[in-house]
Each structure stands twice: as structure tokens, then as C-alpha cells.
């Protein structure tokens, strides 16, 4: 057995044993350490960490989850890596994102389902009261839940858009996909009162609360959901940190959640919002281009290098990371969460 030492973003040291038969993710789980992961198949990049020392073998993975540049920088995927020596790992998430008990599964009922604009759906659930957890919605803004359809094995992960609360409300912004199983449920049969199984909270895409740097949020489409959650918490906590939201869609009619963004602008005096439309019509007066291009322009303006949080499709993640690195933002100050069609 080899010793694995993983140091979190906030400096906590987590140790477990591993050998060449289990992935690092599974080896940690055997020690009741549940590290952030979603797909567990090398496809999402949620479990990406940096190898500081030691030897691993890495199984097949998607280049969108671990780019060649990431790998060259020493990054590995816990779900695809096996230990061949003692390991020193550095994680881009806080200890708070690490579970030391299995992720809870709880029942929650649909309390609202409504179009959010541009083919997106706002789905609101409310936890059932249970003796172990009560009814509180406890999570860290930026995290996600796996929603399991009633009477099926279909489960999909969606980021929360609201903030932790005591009435048990969970809010999601879900992009509808014509062939998506969960989209089909939402479109055809979901109704108020439906009971869903919610597994979570999960994920490590959370704000580095101890960082003094400005927070820049780069979002594509429904990738804005975790950004709304993090920004809303900044409002609730009365935080005065400089922040920037760069939110992009393909066409003007795809813009959604604009009321929520306006409300954030009113509540956070130091929030700068850039709405981006990739293929704008003639009347569009905002930024024409992708969020990554808007980021490049913002970084070129100078100022303190920000922490960058990016959520969206793989292409946006890749472009944002490349631009951020080119703009002198260090690799360990870029935090990403990629989503895929559901």
C-alpha cells in the first residue's frame, strides 16, 4: 500500500492509503473519505487535482476533462488514476468539499416548475422533513445535487442556483435538451408535488472564501446557476469584495435569468456584469462575442489578478483557462465546473 497525502486549497492535509488496484477516488472512499467527483469516468474533470510528487497511472479520459496543458502542469483525475508510489497531491477545493460519510440521499418534492426563458427551466424542490437531516437545505454555493427521476434509474447532476436555507428549498436552472431524459420528464410529466430523490450536496466548485482577490465568474448558458448561488451568498453575507459576472449565450433570445442578475447588480455595488451574445442581432448593445472573449478584454484592462470561476460547456472551460493563463492568472486561481447535456 502507498500513502497518499492530499492538501486542500485551504491547507488541510488528508491522508489515505492506495495501491495500484483501485483508483484514488475508490481508495479514498474505502477510508470513508469522499472526494469531489461526478461522472467517475474521466469525463467531467470534477475530480481533477495536481500531482506534486509520486507516480500514478492514468486510465482513459476525455480531453475536455483534462487538457494536455493541464496534464503537462501535473494535473490528474482521481477517478482515472492509480497509485504506484507514495503520492503528494494538491487539490483545488477546500476541505469543506470533502465528505467523511457517504453523500446523503433525501426526498424532495417539486414546488415550482416554470420556464426561465430561452428553453431553460427553473425547477424548485423542497426537502421532505426527515429525522436525520431535518428539512434544512445545507450546501456550499457552487455545489450540485444529483436528481433522480421517480421510479427510474435516471439521475442527472445540476448546480444549485439559490443559497443554503432553512425551508429546504433547492433551485435549479436546467437547459432543456430535446432528447434528454430528464428534459423529457420536465417537459412532459413533471408536476407540483412530485417526489424526487436528491443526492447531495456534491462538488468542489465553491468560492475560495479566504482569498483576498476579486472574484470573476464566467458562465455559459445554465452555467450561470452556480454563479448566481455564489453571488447571492455574497449579498446575504454583506460581502463587499470586487466581483465580475461574465454571462454569455449564443443569441439574444437565449438570455435568461436577467432579473436575477439585475437584482444582484443592485445588491452588490462592486459587481460588474457583462452580458455576452455570440451572434447578436442589430439591436444588441452589449458585448458581442463569447464570455471567454469578454474575459480577455477585461483582463487586458489591468488591475489585480482575479480568482476565476468558470462554468459551462467544455469549449468555454478550455478557452477561459487558456485566456486566463495568458492574462497572468495563475493555474491554481482558475476554478472550473463543466456541464454536459442531460
Amino acid at each position: 500500500m502507498f500513502n497518499v497525502n492530499l492538501v486542500t486549497r485551504d491547507g488541510a492535509s488528508i491522508e489515505f492509503e492506495a495501491d495500484s488496484t483501485d483508483t484514488l477516488l475508490d481508495a479514498a472512499a474505502k477510508a470513508n473519505i469522499f472526494l469531489p467527483a461526478v461522472c467517475r469516468e474521466g469525463g467531467c474533470g470534477t475530480c481533477r487535482v495536481t500531482r506534486k510528487a509520486g507516480i500514478v497511472s492514468i486510465g482513459p479520459y476525455s480531453k475536455s476533462a483534462l487538457t494536455d496543458a493541464d496534464r503537462a502542469a501535473g494535473d490528474i483525475l482521481l477517478c482515472r488514476s492509480k497509485a504506484y508510489s507514495d503520492l503528494q497531491l494538491s487539490a483545488p477545493f477546500d476541505r469543506a468539499a470533502v465528505g467523511f460519510a457517504p453523500v446523503p440521499e433525501r426526498g424532495a418534492r417539486v414546488i415550482d416548475i416554470a420556464p426561465a426563458g430561452a428553453g431553460a427551466i427553473r425547477l424548485a424542490l423542497q426537502y421532505e422533513d426527515d429525522p436525520t437531516h431535518g428539512r434544512a437545505a445545507e450546501f456550499i454555493p457552487g455545489q450540485f445535487m444529483e436528481l433522480k427521476l421517480p421510479a427510474t434509474s435516471i439521475a442527472r447532476a445540476y448546480s444549485l442556483a439559490n443559497t443554503p436555507n432553512w425551508d429546504g428549498t433547492l433551485e435549479f436552472l436546467i437547459r432543456q435538451h430535446p432528447q434528454g431524459a430528464f428534459s423529457g420528464y420536465l417537459r412532459d410529466s413533471a408536476k407540483i408535488g412530485d417526489l424526487l430523490l436528491v443526492k447531495g450536496p456534491q462538488g468542489s466548485f465553491t468560492a475560495d472564501e479566504a482569498s483576498p482577490s476579486p472574484r470573476w465568474f464566467v458562465a455559459g448558458g445554465t452555467g450561470v446557476a452556480p454563479m448566481l448561488s455564489m453571488l447571492r451568498q455574497m449579498v446575504e453575507f454583506g460581502m463587499t469584495q470586487e466581483a465580475r459576472l461574465i454571462f454569455g449565450v449564443n443569441t439574444e433570445d437565449e438570455l435568461f435569468a436577467t432579473d436575477a442578475v439585475k437584482e444582484l447588480s443592485r445588491s452588490l455595488p462592486r459587481l460588474n456584469v457583462t452580458l455576452c451574445v455570440w451572434q447578436p442581432g442589430p439591436n444588441w448593445t452589449g458585448f458581442a462575442g463569447t464570455p471567454a472573449e469578454a474575459l480577455a478584454a477585461a483582463l487586458a484592462d489591468g488591475g489585480a489578478r482575479p480568482d476565476i470561476y468558470v462554468c459551462g460547456p467544455p469549449a468555454l472551460i478550455e478557452a477561459t483557462e487558456a485566456i486566463a493563463l495568458a492574462g497572468s492568472v495563475s493555474h491554481d486561481r482558475i476554478f472550473s465546473e463543466q456541464f454536459s447535456p442531460a
Binding site: V98, T132, H133, A136, E138, I140, G168, E209, A210
Partner: protein, 554 residues
């Protein structure tokens, strides 16, 4: 960063002090450096306030700000770097205001205002990176190479003692009790520190002056607590949970506790105290709340385990906070001077959200077997039976009193205090206060002539109560306090305890046994001063120290 203000500071062969990226308390380098800057700006405020006061002009809002600002820098209070950026900006504005106050007062008095230097002229940067770049100007070890460790250590003693005074005075102020003498002493100390003193004598005098000011601060806090909540009375407190929804309140702030009791009343929610709020159960007004159900857990250093197991929200009203763990991170709240990045802070006294959280969280599923301790032996209770106590002493039934009090902590050497209390002979009485009591307060000490052998006098600030009792007993016996059959066995951890120690020294109490280790900022030469001049004794072994104490009194 460099910090050596608390007992658990990093010690090695190279010396003592936390440096690098994080202190032993969990405070990161940025937060530590920003705290230094905040204190430096406050010294500038003090320079102007001190001079304005001499001309008859005061600014009580500025004084209150200084108390609060200093309190945020105590060990295990506020770890939120962003908060310190805000406080520094606020301090800068206040400094400009009190500068104008001073200049106006000087003009009215027909005097030219002094041209000040140092902290008074320090202009804090506008953002965190700029402030961090300025931190070296504010470090406690600035100029250590030329000043020598003795001067640096003594300056530190004054600074840390001042922190303790400010903390107690802030507690009193929020409950409506203020003393001009405290503000005057704080301003004087700030002005002295800002002058970058290099002489041992004036610094030692200032430390003792702060000790006297701290006595006033503790008196004010005593008046605040008793004035608002009544006189503590002997009370049995449940130490185990009851079935039902639950809130846990930690720290020292009884005003916040009272507000939480109000916010949760008639909602089927039980409120539990933690740590230094245990004495709250003995105050008549707080006892009127039937849902003040009991006390949960032990001293502060066990909180990560105990809070994780508590099935409701937790409110930290003052020190001691340590890093919130994932299992309770979402349900811990801070209030008053306390803070942690990413943890919800309540700064308006509205604890409705805590009641909501308690209702939403599961609470205790069942009653635990009942266990109780008896508390509430404040000065009025003890002096109420003074004749019995005096008779017992005269008859030889009570041979000696040991005040075993102060802070608890995780260091193995703290078992000394457990051993001391439990090995104290059966014909001695153990008085206790502070969170150090958790090491032995469930032990059955029995009684002497119907008087409990263990008398819990309250929080660390209730050292005031103990001193009043000692003074009255000394009067009754016609001796000085040092001639009483009384030994003080003090455990320290942070700056409130440092202030209490200065009070004991300032009042002339000798033979105080201090541990578990001596403050790292006290050099051997300074320790020697404490030993020679004030009779301070480092602890050794519990049994040996008991015997030595009894022999001295014989």
C-alpha cells in the same frame, strides 16, 4: 506574519512565535498581518484621543470602535481577512475625525496642536494587497534587532493586556456599562505604544496601569451582567441533552444569549450554553426562560467534535472559535467581533434566522441520562455565607482556598489543573472560574460543613467577583489578601487572561502560580521581573504545588 500572543504559539529551539502561512490557531498570514495594521491605525487614533482628552474633548464612538477593533484581534475571534480590510478603512476615517477633534480642541484652548508622527501619520492603503505591503510597519517585532527582545516582549505584554481590557470593556459596553476611566487608560496605552517606547520602566508601569484599568473593566462587566440579568445564584445545570430542537450558544456574550432566548421562545426549541456561557444559567433573568435547557459540551478546544455532533444551529458570540468543520459549517453563525470567511455573520442582534435553523434541523432524538453541575457562586452568594466560611476557617474545617481558574486548552500540560483540583485536600475549598473548570467540574468534591468544596464563580471576567470575596474575607480576618489562606492557580491561554494576570499583579497579589507554560513574549529577564517583583510562580507538579501552597500558608 508573526504572532506570539497566545499560549499555543509555535515553539522550537529557534524561538517562539507563529510565522509562515498560518498560525497554530488557524489564523492565516494575511489576517494576522491585517490585524497588526488595524492595531497600528488604532494606536494613531489613541494618540489623538489622548491629547484631545487632555484638552477636555472626547469621542466616545471612537473609543467604542477601538474596544471592538481590538477585540476582533484576540486569539480565536476573527479570521476573516476581508473584515479587517473594512475595519482598517473605518479606523482610518475615525483617525481623521479624532485628529480634527484634537486640532479643534487645541485651537479652542489657544494652543498649537502637536505635530505627531508614527501611527498618527500612517495612511492605510485602500486595498488588501496594499495593506499587506504595509504590515511590516505594524509588526510587533518591528525593530527587534535594535530594541532587544526584552523591550519587544514588554511592549507585547502591554499590547496583549490592552486587548484583554478592550474585550472586557466591549462586553460591558454592549450591555450599557461604560467607564470613562477605561477609555482614558486605553487611550494612554495606545499613545504609549505609538511612541515606540524603549525603556523597561514606563512599559512595566503601563502594564500595571492596564491591570488596574482591567479591574475597572471587570467591575463594569460585573455591573452590566448583574444589572441586566440579576445576581447569580446557586443553580443546578443540566449537562446532557433533552429530546427536541436545539440551539447552541457559545462565547461569553449574555446579551446575545438573551436575544437568542427571546427569538426562540414558545417555539419548542431548547437553548443550550457552551463553554464560557455556562454561568448564564445562574442569572435570574435568564433562568426565567424555561427553554434555557442546559449546557452542552466542554471547553473550547473540543468544539470541532462537539459541534459536529450537535443537531442544531450554533452561535459563536465571542472567543473561542476554531475552524468550522464541514459537518457544521452551514449551521454555525458568528456574532459581535467574531468572524470566519464563508460563515454567516449576524451583526444586528436579530437571531430570527437561528430560530428558523433550529426548527429546520433535526434536534436531539431523545433525552440523554440527566447529569448536572452546580454553578452560581458569585460574590454575593459566597459573601452571603461569609460568617459560615469564616467560622469554618477559624475552626480548622477549611484549611485553605485554591482558586483554580482561567482558560482551558489542548496542551497536555493542562492536566496539571485537573490533578491540582482533584488532589486538593478534603479540608480545602476549590474556587473556579473560566473555561478551565471543565477539566474537573463534574468531579464530586463533596462539602465542608454543608458548604460545597467546589465553588464555580463564573466566567473568566468573574475574577472580579473572586477579588471582591478575597478582599472582604481579608477585612474580616483583619489581614491583607496575601495573608489569607488562599492560593491562585491560574491557567492562561489568550489575552483576556493576560489582562486578568496584570490585574492580579497591579493589586499586589503575590504567589500567583501561572501555567501551563509562560507567555512566549516574556523573555527570561522579564519572567525574572515577574518572579522577583511580583512573586509569580511558574507551575511545577500539582501535588508539589499543593504542598508548597499549604506550607506557605501554614
Amino acid at each position: 506574519m508573526f504572532c506570539y500572543q497566545c499560549e499555543q504559539t509555535y515553539r522550537s529551539d529557534e524561538g517562539a512565535g507563529c510565522s509562515g502561512s498560518k498560525g497554530m490557531c488557524g489564523k492565516d498570514a494575511a489576517t494576522s498581518d491585517l490585524q497588526d495594521v488595524l492595531l497600528h491605525v488604532c494606536e494613531g487614533i489613541g494618540q489623538y484621543l489622548h491629547r484631545a482628552r487632555a484638552l477636555g474633548a472626547t469621542d466616545v464612538e471612537a473609543d467604542r470602535f477601538v474596544l471592538y477593533a481590538f477585540f476582533t484581534t484576540l486569539t480565536n475571534v476573527n479570521f476573516n481577512a476581508g473584515k479587517f480590510v473594512q475595519l482598517i478603512a473605518q479606523a482610518g476615517e475615525i483617525k481623521n475625525r479624532v485628529k480634527a477633534l484634537y486640532e479643534t480642541a487645541a485651537a479652542k484652548a489657544g494652543k498649537a496642536p502637536e505635530t505627531l508622527s508614527g501611527a498618527a501619520t500612517f495612511i492605510p492603503a485602500a486595498d488588501m494587497n496594499g495593506l499587506l505591503a504595509q504590515a511590516s510597519e505594524a509588526s510587533v517585532r518591528k525593530d527587534a534587532a535594535t530594541l532587544g527582545e526584552d523591550v519587544v516582549g514588554l511592549r507585547s505584554l502591554v499590547l496583549y493586556g490592552l486587548k484583554g481590557v478592550c474585550a472586557y470593556a466591549h462586553h460591558a459596553e454592549v450591555l450599557g456599562e461604560e467607564r470613562d476611566a477605561i477609555y482614558e487608560a486605553v487611550e494612554h496605552a495606545l499613545d504609549l505604544l505609538a511612541s515606540e517606547p524603549k525603556e523597561i520602566g514606563p512599559l512595566l508601569d503601563e502594564a500595571l496601569a492596564l491591570g488596574r484599568a482591567n479591574f475597572v473593566a471587570m467591575e463594569a462587566l460585573d455591573a452590566a451582567n448583574t444589572g441586566n440579568f440579576g445576581t447569580p445564584e446557586p443553580t443546578q445545570v443540566r449537562m446532557t441533552p433533552k429530546k427536541g430542537k436545539a440551539v447552541l450558544v457559545s462565547g461569553h456574550d449574555m446579551k446575545d444569549l438573551c436575544a437568542i432566548l427571546e427569538a426562540t421562545k414558545d417555539k419548542g426549541i431548547n437553548v443550550y450554553t457552551h463553554g464560557e456561557l455556562l454561568p448564564a444559567h445562574s442569572y435570574p433573568k435568564l433562568k426565567t426562560y424555561p427553554h434555557l435547557a442546559g449546557n452542552y459540551g466542554g471547553a473550547w478546544q473540543d468544539q470541532q467534535k462537539e459541534f459536529a455532533e450537535f443537531p442544531g444551529p450554533i452561535v459563536m458570540t465571542s472567543n473561542c472559535l476554531i475552524e468550522p468543520q464541514p459537518r457544521y459549517r452551514g449551521r454555525i453563525f458568528t456574532a459581535g467581533p467574531v468572524g470566519w470567511p464563508g460563515i454567516r455573520h449576524i451583526d444586528n442582534g436579530d437571531f430570527a434566522i437561528v430560530a428558523q435553523a433550529a426548527a429546520a434541523l433535526p434536534g436531539f432524538a431523545e433525552d440523554a441520562p440527566e447529569e448536572t453541575v452546580t454553578i452560581g457562586f458569585g460574590r454575593d452568594t459566597v459573601l452571603g455565607v461569609a460568617d459560615k466560611v469564616i467560622d469554618a476557617v477559624k475552626a480548622g474545617a477549611i484549611r485553605h482556598f485554591f482558586l483554580v481558574g482561567g482558560c482551558d486548552g489542548a496542551a497536555p500540560g493542562r492536566n496539571y489543573y485537573t490533578d491540582f483540583a482533584e488532589h486538593a485536600p478534603k479540608d480545602t475549598v476549590v474556587l473556579t472560574l473560566g473555561c478551565g473548570k471543565y477539566r474537573f467540574n463534574r468531579h464530586d468534591f463533596g462539602t465542608i460543613d454543608g458548604l460545597p468544596r467546589l465553588l464555580d464563580m463564573g466566567q473568566c471576567n468573574d475574577a472580579y467577583s473572586a477579588l471582591v470575596v478575597a478582599t472582604k474575607l481579608a477585612e474580616a480576618f483583619g489581614v491583607g489578601v496575601n495573608e489569607l489562606p488562599l492560593s491562585l492557580i491560574v491557567s492562561w491561554f489568550e489575552q483576556k487572561a493576560a489582562a486578568v494576570l496584570l490585574t492580579l499583579l497591579a493589586l499586589g497579589l503575590r504567589n500567583v502560580r501561572l501555567g501551563p507554560t509562560l507567555p512566549a513574549f516574556l523573555t527570561p529577564a522579564l519572567v525574572n521581573v515577574l518572579v522577583e517583583k511580583f512573586g509569580v510562580l511558574p507551575i511545577t507538579e500539582a501535588k508539589a504545588d499543593i504542598e508548597a501552597s499549604l506550607a506557605r500558608a501554614a
